[in-house]
C-alpha cells in the first residue's frame, strides 16, 4: 500500500485532468471544486509522506521500480529522499493554493485551464519523485507544454512572446540535457573500455557506478562535458545568468497562479535537478567548476554571485511590481547556486532550505501582486501610494512577505540565505562578501516598493479599493505560517533532508 502512495500522488492530478475534461463546460463552479479536490489529494498524500518519511535514514524510501521500456532498460522508478519529499510537499501545497488563486480571475476556458494546471502538477510531482533518468527527463519536459499554454492563453498582453520565449529557452536547455542523458546512458556499462552488464537509466545505480574505479562514467573529462550539458539544461530553468531573460517576461505575462507555480516550483526543478544529477552523479565535473584551477575553477560560485547581484540590481530598477518580484527571484536563486557551489554541509543544506523557502515566499509575493492587480488592473509601482491606509491587512501580509524575502531573521528567508552564505564563505570568501551586496540591495528594493505602494498619502484613485478578501487570505495564510514557523524552527525542514545532504556531501567532497 505504501508503495503505491507515491505513484498515486503523482497521477491523481492526471486523473483529475481527465475528470475535469469530462465535465460540462458551463459548470464552472463544479470544475473549480473538482480541480481543488484533485489538488488537495496530493497535498494530503504529501503531508502523509512528509510525516511518515523516516528522517533518520538517508536511503530512498517508498521506491517503486517496475520495468517500462525493457529494450532500453528504462524503468518506472520513483522514490523519495529528504530532498524530494520536501519539494514534493512544496509542490503539493502550492497546487490547491493556485487553484484557489485562480478562482475568480480566469475569464475564459476555465475547464482547459484547470485541466492543464492539473497536468502541470503531475509533471512537477513526477519530476521530483522520479529516479530514472529517462523518466526524469520526460517529467521535466512534461511541465513545458501546460506551462506554454497557461502563459500563452491566459497571460497578459504580451503573452505570446513570453510563452514562446519560455518555451524556446527551456527547450534549448533541455535538448542539451538530452544529449548528456544519452551519453550517460551509453556509457553506463563501460568499465575500462569494456562493456559489462546492461546499460541503465537508473539514477541511484548510475551514481553508484560513477564511483566504480575505471568506469567510463567516472572519467573526469567526460564528467565535465556531461555536467555542462545537464547544467545548461537546469540553468535555463533556475534561471542562471545569462539564461535568465525569459523569466521576467514569463512572470509578467503569466496569470497569478502560474507565476506562483513558475517561481515556486519550476525554478526549483532546475536546482533540484542540479543537486540530483549534476552534483550526485558528476562530482568530478562539479569539482572542475567549483574547485578547479584557473578561469573555470570558481565559475559556479561566480555565476551564483552574478545572479545575486544582477538580479538584485535589476529588481531595484523595475517599476513593474511583478517584474520586480521576478528579478528578485533571480537574485534569490543565486543564493542557492552559491550555496551549492560551496559543496559543504552548510552550503547545501542552506541551498536546499532556500529552495523550499523561496518557493513559499515567492509564491506569497506573486499571490500578493495578483491580489493588487485584480483590484487595480495595473502593476505600476509608482502608480499606487498610501495603500497601507486603505488595505491594512494586505499591507501587513505584504510586509511579512517582503521581510521574509529580504532575509529578515526570524522568517524563513533568512536561514537558507545565511546558511548558503556561511557555506560559501568557507570556500569563496571574497565572492561571498561581494554577494552580501545582494542583501542590502534586496532590502532596498523591497523597502522602496513598500514605500511607493503602501506608504505616503493615499492615491485618491484608490480610495475605494477593496481590502483583501477571505479567499485570498486563505491562500496566503498557510504560506505565511510556513514562513514564520520555518523561520523560528528551521530544523523541521532541515531534519528532513540533512541526512540526504550528508550523503551528498560525502559524494561531492572527493
Amino acid at each position: 500500500m505504501d508503495q503505491i502512495l507515491l505513484s498515486l500522488m503523482i497521477f491523481v492530478p492526471l486523473l483529475g485532468m481527465v475528470v475535469v475534461f469530462l465535465l460540462p463546460n458551463d459548470r464552472e463552479e463544479l470544475i473549480k471544486r473538482v480541480a481543488l479536490a484533485f489538488t488537495l489529494i496530493p497535498l494530503v498524500l504529501a503531508v502523509y509522506l512528509f510525516i511518515d518519511y523516516n528522517k533518520s535514514s538517508a536511503e530512498t524510501q517508498y521506491f517503486v521500480s517496475v520495468p517500462w521500456i525493457d529494450t532500453f532498460h528504462i524503468n518506472y522508478h520513483v522514490g523519495i529522499d529528504g530532498l524530494s519529499v520536501t519539494l514534493l510537499l512544496l509542490t503539493a501545497l502550492l497546487g490547491p493554493i493556485c487553484v484557489l488563486a485562480s478562482w475568480r480571475n480566469i475569464e475564459k476556458g476555465l475547464k482547459a485551464y484547470m485541466a492543464l494546471f492539473l497536468l502541470l502538477e503531475t509533471g512537477m510531482l513526477g519530476f521530483f519523485a522520479s529516479l530514472d533518468l529517462f523518466l526524469f527527463f520526460v517529467f521535466f519536459e512534461l511541465t513545458l507544454l501546460p506551462m506554454y499554454f497557461l502563459i500563452g492563453v491566459w497571460g497578459g498582453p504580451r503573452r505570446e512572446y513570453a510563452a514562446i520565449k519560455f518555451f524556446l529557452y527551456t527547450l534549448f536547455g533541455s535538448v542539451l540535457m538530452l544529449v548528456a542523458i544519452i551519453a550517460v546512458y551509453l556509457r553506463s556499462n563501460i568499465i575500462n573500455d569494456v562493456a559489462e552488464g546492461l546499460r541503465t537509466f537508473d539514477i541511484p545505480e548510475l551514481i553508484q557506478r560513477a564511483t566504480v574505479e575505471g568506469h567510463a562514467l567516472g572519467d573526469s573529462k567526460f564528467q565535465m562535458w556531461v555536467f555542462l550539458g545537464f547544467f545548461i539544461g537546469f540553468a535555463v530553468k533556475v534561471p542562471i545568468f545569462p539564461f535568465h531573460t525569459w523569466l521576467p517576461d514569463a512572470h509578467v505575462e503569466a496569470p497569478t497562479a502560474i507565476s506562483v507555480i513558475l517561481a515556486g516550483v519550476l525554478l526549483k526543478m532546475g536546482t533540484y535537478g542540479f543537486v540530483r544529477i549534476n552534483m550526485a552523479m558528476f562530482p568530478e565535473g562539479l569539482d572542475y567548476f567549483t574547485n578547479g584551477d584557473g578561469f573555470l575553477g570558481h565559475s559556479l560560485a561566480l555565476l551564483g554571485f552574478i545572479n545575486i547581484v544582477y538580479g538584485s540590481f535589476c529588481a531595484l530598477a523595475q517599476t513593474d511590481f511583478k517584474k520586480l518580484v521576478a528579478y528578485s527571484s533571480i537574485g534569490h536563486m543565486g543564493f542557492v547556486i552559491l550555496g551549492l557551489a560551496a559543496r559543504n554541509a552548510e552550503g547545501i543544506n542552506g541551498a536546499v532550505l532556500q529552495m523550499f523557502n523561496h518557493g513559499v515566499i515567492s509564491a506569497m509575493l506573486f499571490l500578493l501582486v495578483g491580489v493588487l492587480y485584480d483590484r487595480a488592473h495595473h502593476r505600476e509601482i509608482n502608480g499606487f501610494g498610501g495603500l497601507g491606509n486603505r488595505m491594512p491587512i494586505y499591507t501587513g501580509i505584504t510586509t511579512l512577505a517582503f521581510m521574509a524575502s529580504l532575509g529578515l531573521p526570524g522568517l524563513s528567508g533568512f536561514i537558507g540565505e545565511a546558511l548558503s552564505l556561511f557555506g560559501a564563505f568557507q570556500e569563496f570568501p571574497l565572492l561571498t562578501i561581494l554577494s552580501t551586496i545582494g542583501i542590502v540591495v534586496g532590502a532596498a528594493y523591497f523597502l522602496w516598493t513598500l514605500q511607493r505602494v503602501f506608504l505616503g498619502a493615499l492615491n485618491p484613485k484608490y480610495e475605494e479599493l477593496p481590502e483583501i478578501n477571505r479567499r485570498e487570505i486563505l491562500t496566503l495564510v498557510p504560506l505565511g505560517i510556513l514562513t514564520i514557523v520555518l523561520g523560528i524552527w528551521p530544523n523541521i525542514a532541515i531534519d528532513m533532508f540533512s541526512k540526504s545532504v550528508t550523503n551528498l556531501v560525502n559524494i561531492v567532497s572527493i
Binding site: Y310, N389, P409, F425, T432, T436, L455
Partner: protein, 732 residues
Amino acid sequence: MVVPLISIILLAPLAAFTIFALFGLAKRSFPRQDILSTAAMLVALGCSLYLLNETSDPKPLTVEWLSLGSITLSMGFYLDSVTVIMLIVVTLVSSLVHIFSIGYMHGDPRYPRFFAFLSLFSFSMLFLVVSDNLLGIYIGWELVGLCSYLLIGFWFEKDSAANACKKAFLTTRVGDVGMFIGMMMLFKQFDTLSLYGTDGIFEAVRTLEAGQIAWLSAAGILIFCGAVGKSAQVPLHTWLPDAMEGPTPVSALIHAATMVAAGVYLVARMFPILTPSSSLVIAYVGGITAIVAATIAIVRFDIKRVLAYSTVSQLGFMMLALGAGSYVAGLFHLTTHAFFKALLFLGSGSVIHAFHAMHAHHDEEHADDNEDEHDNHSLVHEHGSEIPPDQDMRNMGGLRRKMPFTFFTMLIATLSISGVPFVFSGFWSKDAILGGVLERAMGWNSVHHYILFGVVLLAAGITAFYMFRLIFMTFFGEPRNQEMHDMAHESPWVMVVPLLILAALSLPVVNKWWFKEGYINKPYQAHVHEPTHAQLRPDSKTGDTNFGFSNFGISEAEAAEEEGGHDTEHADDAHHGHGPAHTIAMVLSIIVAGLGILLSWLFYHKRRFTAESVATTFRPVYTLFWNKYYFDEFYNGVLVALTVWKSRLFAKFDLSIIDGIVNGVATITRAIFAAFIGFFDNRVIDGIVNRVAKVIWSVGGRVRRIQTGAIQTYLFVVLGGIVLIILIFRVL
C-alpha cells in the same frame, strides 16, 4: 525557575503582538490592545526584577536549533548580570513608554497597532538581550530593526516618515551586512556561533595563535559594523535624526533607550574577541561620533532632533568607553543614559503633545504638500531640514509655568546628561568614561587616548551647552508663539507619571536599591580566565573594574575589596591606575559642564550674545554644523546615485551589452551567410532571442529564396549538388 521566567519575559509581549495579528487577519482588532500590551510589559518587568538574584547559572537553556550533519547551531539563553540589567532597563523603559503612550497616542486611528508594534519590539529586544549566541543576537538585531522600521513609519502618510523608516532600515542594514560577514568569518574559523561555554567562541578564541590576530581584528571590526549601524555611529548615524519622524514614545524607547544601545551591548558582549586594533577603531569611531553629533546638535531647532543628535553623541561616548576598555563605564552609561534620555524624549513628547491640536492641523497641511511631491520618487529622500512647527523650539518658550511637571522632570534629565556633579547619575557614568579614557591614555602612555580624551571632554562640554540651550529655549523666557502657547497644557497623568518615575531613576540614590555594588564587573570570563584581549595588550589590566555603580556613594576601597575578592591581581593594577586619572577627569568634566551651562545661560537666557552673531562670525563652521557635515548629501549624491545608476545600468545591460555580444555574433554569421546567399537586412534588433530568431529566420528566408519556383533552378541544385558532393569527397 530561570528558564520559565525568561520564557515569560519573551512570550508575554510576543503574545500581545500575536493576538493583534490574529485579530487583524480576521479583519478585527482586539478591544483593548493598549492594556494588553502594557500588561504584558509589566509582567515582563516583574519577571526581570525577580531575575536580579538568579544569575548563578549563566547558561540555563541551550537547544539544538539546526543540525547539519556534523555541525550544529544551537539557541539558548545566557543570563549574567549584564543580561539582567539590560532586561530590567528594557522592560522598565518599555513599560513606562507603554503607559505614556496610552495618553500620548490617544485618538490615533491606528492606536492598537502602535501597541502591538511596541510589544513586538520589546520581544525582539529582549530576545536579543538573552541570546547566548551570535545568530540569536543577529535575529533579535534584525527584528528590532524591523520594528524600528514599522514604528518610524507609523505615520506613513507623511512622506518624510515613509522616507525615514526606509532610510533607517537600509542604513542599519549596511552595518548588519558587515556584522553578518564578521559572523561568517567566526563561523568559518570555529564552526559555531555560540559565544559561551566550552565549545563557544570565547573559549575557542583563546587558542588562536599570534598569526591570526589580524584576522580576528577584522572579524571584530566587522561585528562592530553592525553596532555602527544600529547605534548610529559615524558614518552610519544619519538615519537616527530622521527616525524622529516616528511618534515620540518610539523615539524614547527605541531610538534613545534600547535599540540604539543594542550596539553598545553587542560590543560589550563581544569584548573577549576584541583585539587592541579593533578596540582602537571602536574608540575612534565612538569619539568622532560623540563630537560630530554634539556639534550638530548645537544648531538644531527641532526639539527632537536636538535630542536625537544628543543620543548619537552619547552613544559615541559609550562606544568610546568600550573601545578604551572601560567595559563597565560603557555599560553604566548605557543604563543611565537609557533613563534620562527616555525621560528627555518623553518630556519633549509631552511638550509636543501640548501642541496636539496644532499637530493635527499641521498633518493636513503636510499631506497637501505631499501631493505635489508625489511623483518625485527617488530611493532616498532628505526631509530633515523642514521642521514641524510643534517641534520647533523657536515656537516655544516660557512653558515652565504651563507644564510644571514636564519642566521639572526634563530639567532633572538635563542636569543628568550635562554631568552636573554628584546627585545625578549621568555625572557618574560620564565621569567613569572620561576617567577610563584618561586612565588608558596614562596607563599606556598612548597618544591616541589623549586625543580621544580631549575630544570627549569637549563633547561633554558641548553636551551641557546644547542641552541647556534646549531647556532655556523651551521652558524659559517669553512665549515666542502666543497662539501655540495658549493652547499648551500640562499632559494627563498617564503621561506625567512615567516622567516622574524616570526622573527618579535619573538619581543614583534611586538606582542604588536594585543595583548591587560591582554587579557589573567584568566582561565574560574575565575573572575566570585571562581575557584574550588582555593577553594581547601591552599591559593586562582591564582598568575599569572599580568604577561604575560602586561610586554611588560607596567608598572606593570597599569596591576595590569587593573586586579583589574576585581577582586580586587586577585590583592591584586598578588601584595604582585609576586614582589620579579619575580625579583629573572628574575635575575637568565638572569644569566643562559648568562652562557649557554658563555659556548656554549667557546665550539663551541672558541673551548676552546672540547665536546669530556667532553664527555669522563662524559662518563656515556654522554651515558645516547646520548641514550635518553633509553626510546626507554625500550619501544621496554619491552612494545612492551610484546605486540607482548601477541598477539602471544593469537593467540596460540586457538591452545593450548582451545584445551587443549577440549582435557581434550575428554580424559574423551575417558575413558568412552573405558570402553564400546574398545580403542580409540591416535592421537594428533588440533582444537576444529576437536577434537569434531573426538571424535564423532570415536564413530561413534565404533558403526559401532558392526555391524560386523555376524547375530548372531546382535541377541546377540537384546536379550542382552531385558535382559538389563528388568533388568534396573525392577530389578535394
